[in-house]
């Protein structure tokens, strides 16, 4: 089987800021519910978050949304600084976090320009009613370690295994392999796929949009991290046409 290199496209023109991806991620990956106190302490864990920015002044104000998750950088700055190899790059282009290996120096989080690494300050807790909904495929992280978006590696693994055993080809954009956030996105603003497969949707978008006229860009490219998430600019209405 050909080696995959997973990537994602985020079309900001389609994002409505509905936070569906955030909730899906929370449920899929056993992330403890963020309560008001967590927001007050700035200790919220959201592997994917929707940042909201206001543009313009009242009454001509626009809300801009940008979902930000781990960019799975090819040159991930978080990897070389971990003293114990708790974070490393796997053969499928994913930046992986080994929870049991982490000792919690939080160096990786400092060195991440996107701020997508999260530290478990407290032991994770769920209300009794939610304990049975925990995903058995995902480790519940103990306190004192880092965690972050994995592109739902458990779904990728499971689908590949099923495909091997049952002998079928994995379709591009199959719901079985897509991360939870991509499946949950109602406007299909998020597209997930194999960058090594030239026929996949992400590869085609990449090819089309990384041209000069295209809308594609990487977040904070100037750090030289070469991320695997491509953002597509919002399409602006004709500037002269104001309402």
């Amino acid at each position: 089987m050909k080696q995959s290199k997973w990537g994602m496209v985020v079309d900001l023109d389609k994002c409505t800021g509905c936070q569906g991806c955030v909730v899906a991620c929370q449920a899929e990956n056993n992330i403890p519910s963020n309560e008001k106190s967590d927001y007050d302490e700035d200790r919220v864990i959201q592997w994917i978050r929707v940042e909201r920015y206001w543009e313009g002044t009242f009454p001509d104000v626009k809300a801009r949304f940008i979902p930000i998750m781990c960019q799975h950088c090819d040159e991930a700055p978080c990897e070389p600084v971990c003293p114990v190899y708790a974070t490393y790059h796997n053969s499928e282009g994913l930046n992986v976090q080994v929870y049991n290996r982490c000792i919690g120096t939080r160096f990786c989080a400092n060195n991440c320009p996107y701020q997508v690494r999260f530290f478990n300050f407290w032991e994770a807790e769920w209300p009794d009613s939610l304990k049975n909904q925990l995903n058995p495929d995902v480790t519940v992280r103990s306190r004192g370690i880092m965690e972050k978006c994995t592109f739902c590696i458990q779904r990728i693994r499971r689908t590949k295994r099923d495909a091997n055993v049952n002998g079928f080809e994995i379709d591009d954009g199959s719901r079985a392999i897509n991360p939870a956030c991509v499946n949950a996105c109602p406007t299909e603003a998020l597209v997930f796929g194999d960058m090594n497969d030239s026929n996949s949707k992400v590869s085609k978008i990449k090819e089309k949009e990384s041209k000069k006229s295209g809308r594609g860009y990487h977040l904070m490219e100037h750090y030289g991290t070469s991320p695997n998430v491509i953002y597509l600019k919002k399409i602006e209405k004709n500037k002269s046409h104001s309402n």
Partner: protein, 464 residues
């Protein structure tokens, strides 16, 4: 050339061993109150271990806080030892004799204090040995030990540098301590201490051969230890400088800037310690105004070089005119509370002390040196705080994630713990071993001549 009091060997022995033979009146009370502070700090740590790092105030995005500040601060203080014992020894500065051991002991305890901050800082301190390349045989059976530490990480360089420094400091202190342990062994009356000192003295009897080795060893060690002078704080600075994503950290000037800052704070701490010891143990025959004068002059130079590198750091940072960097510097200097801290830092670390040290009367007064050097260390603690926190507050394009930080009670308690620990460690050391080396002072006496200057006869060492 410096003025000294000529003393006989017996006077020196009696003076310097008196705090070792019986405890001074204030001793147990001081140790008790320091112990109380340490206990309070440690109870905070127990709480942190029990419930998690949530009890500190670090948060997203400021993931490093007071502990790392304090770590860098104590590593900086530890540079005193190497500066005084190695550099001053090799340059044959005669005034180092009575202060070398105090500086080395300060180094020892400040290194331990710095390392303890790492334990406070990490999320799972019980797994901290994973950053060492120890084979499983040493640690015991452990599934996760199959992996070598990541040598690209500055957090692996750190234990190497600091560990080397700690080992060489212990070696240094011990080799220089041997004749004095032997001296205490001969003077001590009670039985059990005598046995302990005899074992520690390693059979030092003062034969010519032993003296010869004893005199060569520290010089050899100082030469070997010199690379550490550059390496330790460079590596500590690289904890920050390698972080490409943090504005204000990713700077090439950081290594020299941190080293010179470390010498500034370290030598100040030695001056402070000297003044303290002078007052506690009435050592005015051994620690002279000349000593403070020499340290004061050294400090004026060091502080000014440090200020220059600080200036360079700012120039390098602002030269590209990048928005995040400008936003960061703007925050450091113009936004409350950082602006107040910044002004306090400039005044305490440079403006007040250095302008004071320009006056000879202040340089020669132990009391004034005590307070000005404390100011320097307040300022240097703030300096590290002002580098670490505003940098991590992330004044980047993603303004959604901007943050801030102030230490929590537990963190303040543990910072207080490290200070109490270092003071307590030095006092306990001074109770067990002579803190001013009698053999070294006696050796210094041998080098002196009575010189006639004008109408006065002065005992002084000519080779200075």
């Amino acid at each position: 050339m410096q003025e000294h009091t000529q003393l006989s060997d017996k006077e020196i022995t009696d003076d310097l061993l008196s705090p070792v033979i019986r405890s001074p009146k204030w001793f147990w009370m001081t140790i008790g109150s320091l112990g109380l502070i340490m206990l309070l700090g440690l109870s905070g740590y127990v709480w942190e271990l029990y419930s998690g790092l949530g009890v500190t105030n670090v948060k997203r995005p400021v993931y490093w806080g007071a502990y790392i500040t304090n770590f860098v601060f104590w590593i900086g203080i530890s540079h005193a030892g190497i500066m005084v014992s190695a550099i001053l020894r090799l340059t044959q500065a005669e005034w180092r004799r009575s202060i070398t051991r105090a500086a080395e002991v300060l180094t020892l305890f400040s290194l331990i204090a710095a390392l303890s901050n790492i334990l406070f800082h990490v999320g799972r301190p019980w797994r901290i040995y994973w950053i060492t390349p120890l084979p499983p045989v040493v640690i015991g059976y452990d599934f996760a030990r199959g992996i070598w530490p990541n040598i690209r990480s500055p957090f692996v360089w750190d234990p190497v540098a600091v560990g080397t420094y700690l080992l060489s400091t212990i070696l240094f202190i011990y080799t220089c301590l041997l004749p004095d342990i032997a001296l205490v062994r001969d003077k001590v009356k009670s039985k059990i201490p005598k046995i302990i000192y005899s074992v520690l003295a390693l059979g030092f009897r003062g034969t010519p051969r032993q003296w010869k080795i004893q005199a060569t060893a520290p010089i050899l060690l100082s030469a070997l230890v010199l690379p550490i002078f550059v390496s330790v704080h460079s590596i500590v600075s690289w904890d920050f400088a390698v972080s490409i994503a943090v504005e204000g950290w990713h700077s090439t000037i950081f290594a020299p800037y941190f080293i010179i800052g470390a010498i500034h704070s370290g030598v100040s701490a030695v001056a402070c310690l000297m003044a303290g010891l002078l007052w506690l143990y009435k050592l005015d025959k051994y620690i002279k105004p000349d000593h403070f004068d020499a340290i004061g002059r050294l400090l004026v130079i060091v502080a000014t070089i440090w200020l220059f590198t600080l200036f360079l750091e700012w120039i390098f940072a602002l030269y590209p005119l990048e928005d995040p960097e400008i936003a960061l510097r703007n925050m450091q200097v113009f936004q409350s509370p950082w602006n107040y801290l910044f002004i306090l830092f400039l005044f305490t670390a440079y403006i007040i002390p250095v302008s004071a040290w320009l006056f000879k009367n202040i340089r020669r007064s132990a009391k004034w040196m005590f307070f000005t050097t404390i100011l320097v260390n307040v300022g240097m603690w703030l300096e590290r705080f002002l580098i670490i926190i505003p940098g991590l507050s992330r004044r980047t394009e993603l303004s959604f994630n901007w943050g801030s930080y102030s230490p929590s009670l537990v963190e303040m308690g543990l910072v207080a713990f490290t200070f109490a620990f270092v003071i307590c460690g030095i006092l306990v050391f001074a109770r067990i071993f002579p803190i001013i080396p009698p053999f070294d002072v006696k050796e210094g006496m041998r080098f002196r001549h009575i010189i006639k200057i004008g109408k006065r006869n002065i005992s002084a060492v000519v080779r200075e």
